[in-house]
Symmetry: C2
Subunit: 376 residues, 2 copies
């Protein structure tokens, strides 16, 4: 059987699928004549970086300074840290700069600018900064039409150690709709917000060389990228069950799966027990927004063929309970010790439970390990 | 300010609270004259082991063979691996035995016995085995009154390399009720199931030296432990918001918290943004079963005082969004760069995101780090 040399649970990565996902996105941005600055928060692996930036310009986005440091050590020289910066993190950021990196920060808070400037002064360094725009996701960002936005631009420009590089946004609300039309509408909302912000900056006399947007769904379904200089999708390299329901990938385009062993049959509860629980799969149930039979993952045979009707209905720390939609479970097809593969609901969360990927070919041949940089 | 030398997010552990939680449980089992075999799946740290087994017999429960190996290297000699065993894991189990450990396994599947026996034969070793009983949790286990149960006992006894040590159960359904009376009822159901199973074994002529039960809620609220030889709670060392709603701990008995920085204010959405998201807090929302205003964690000042009304309403990978129950948020009290502490919903899941605890005194003095053994 494929993968029988691996202990379970293990995080598998189909290299052929992964490479094709990377190739398709790179082709898309080249047609649109913008840069792809892939978000490495899902992959967190150097080999994944090389694949995702092949034929691209080489810059990336990260979600932690640990990632920034890791990719800097791996030779990456242009990194956007895409989470709001605070003064206490600037010394860690400087250590990344010291590895020869142009590290760009983001902010959305006028009150923080003088504190950031003071700390950068103390460290005797400077940082390029993007202003984060809220394009409807209601997470980080100021509204492009707000006075606060121009105040921010003014404060950054007036600082000694920060330089205004432009604007960025992330339309996180694109994860909560599921038709190409709805996602295309959000993509346009995302584009208009950040391009509108850049126009407002330029009109007020500020520089704005960078206009950055993007999520995987909006990258896939956008009808126009006009005015953007770059996009920052990340999960597209992998896909997952949630992206499948959104329509941003097909089931056979999901690159990462969790290999699990059947460890029991609870015939009273009509469940198969597997050794992939909440720590191996994560407790993310985002696809439940779109389907009542996805739970914590869909179930495949070891060769990757989906087993219709089965899903991981619940998880405990190290136990997953697999149910059948119809209620029927042919236990003899799943003896204790046999193996299954689980399609993750949300790849970013699932992969974070593992130290590395066990990389394999489409035929199930193991090709090696890709190490991940987890934590902060 | 306390903890200002730490980067965020960080996992804090109040040593005074932790030690008191350990002391109270040890006292409880000594009064009941049974053994405490603490489940180390929450703590996963050697210093925590020493604290939890102080004045106790020293044996532990683990949820992964990585934990078993880690604690074996730390000198533990009596370990119960409390997740259904499969043949492919016996070689890993043997490496734990080779460190001088009595490693007890569990099973609930008659068909697996001959495969386990064959593999143990191949490895030229033997394993003590407990039969897992389903006492109502509907996860692992056979019913105590089933024919399957006696078949299992017969198959283990007839094997060459497995020896029957007794029975064990875990009343996981005790997490889903919230009054002392309801939990006491489940504790009694748990006790009766596993003690009844042991009596059935003895009557049929099988040995049954071990009768093992326990979860934190049932350990706290059980009215009788009669017939049990040991209990296996784990989360009691830490407590969490879920245990607080169950009634198994008070808020000031929660030992682990996540230190986070305020990274933004979204005044449009009426949210504070913090740098503890789904990876730092986990996506566990189990306390939502009992309250609509707990989300992914409750919010404290850096000194540990709870801030009434605030809770982590939603999380993205590295962002947490803090909301106020009333909708009012005094942003000036939470400037960007200031810090908060988050009470975890489910400690087992939250701690798993971190490589270590930053251990501190009740006064907020940092005392050192306790390393964790994560993964498999």
């Amino acid at each position: 059987m494929p993968f029988d040399t691996l202990n379970t649970p293990a995080l598998l990565l189909d290299k052929d699928v992964f490479e094709e996902n990377c190739r398709v996105m790179q082709e898309r941005v080249q047609e649109a004549e913008i840069k792809l600055r892939p978000h490495m928060k899902t992959a967190k692996a150097l080999e994944a970086y090389h694949c995702a930036t092949k034929d691209g310009f080489g810059g990336i986005t990260v979600s932690t300074l640990a990632e920034a440091d890791f990719f800097a050590s791996g030779g990456v020289t242009d990194i956007l840290y895409g989470v709001g910066i605070v003064p206490s993190k600037l010394s860690q950021a400087q250590r990344v700069q010291d590895k020869g990196v142009k590290l760009t920060l983001i902010t959305d808070n006028p009150d923080a600018i003088s504190l950031l400037d003071d700390e950068a002064k103390r460290l005797e360094t400077t940082f390029p900064v993007l202003i984060e725009i809220d394009s409807g996701g209601r997470r980080g960002g100021v509204l492009a039409n707000s006075q606060e936005f121009l105040n921010l631009a003014q404060a950054i420009t007036a600082s000694q150690c920060l330089s205004l590089e432009g604007v960025m946004t992330h339309a996180g609300h694109s994860y909560h709709v599921s038709t190409p039309e709805e996602i295309a509408d959000i993509a346009e909302q995302e584009r208009e917000a950040v391009v509108g912000a850049s126009e407002r900056l330029l009109k007020a006399g500020f520089p704005c060389p960078v206009v950055s947007a993007g999520s995987t769904p909006t990258a896939v379904f956008a009808k126009s990228y006009e005015g953007l200089t770059e996009i920052r999708p990340g999960v597209y390299m992998f896909g997952d069950v949630d992206q499948m329901f959104i329509g941003a990938c097909k089931q056979n385009e999901i690159a990462a799966t969790v290999l699990a062993s059947v460890i029991g049959h609870n015939k009273t509860a009509k469940r198969l027990l597997i050794d992939a629980g909440g720590l191996a799969l994560s407790k993310d149930i985002s696809a439940s927004e779109f389907s009542s039979h996805t739970g914590y993952g869909l179930v495949c045979w070891p060769d990757g063929d989906v087993i219709e009707e089965l899903y991981v209905e619940s998880v405990h720390q190290e136990h997953g309970l697999v149910a059948s939609v119809s209620g029927d479970l042919p236990y003899d097809k799943f003896p204790v010790g046999s193996r299954l593969r689980i399609l993750p609901i949300h790849t970013c969360m699932t992969c974070a439970g593992f130290s590395h990927y066990d990389v394999h070919s489409a035929e199930g041949e193991l090709l090696g390990k890709w190490g991940r940089v987890n934590r902060w």
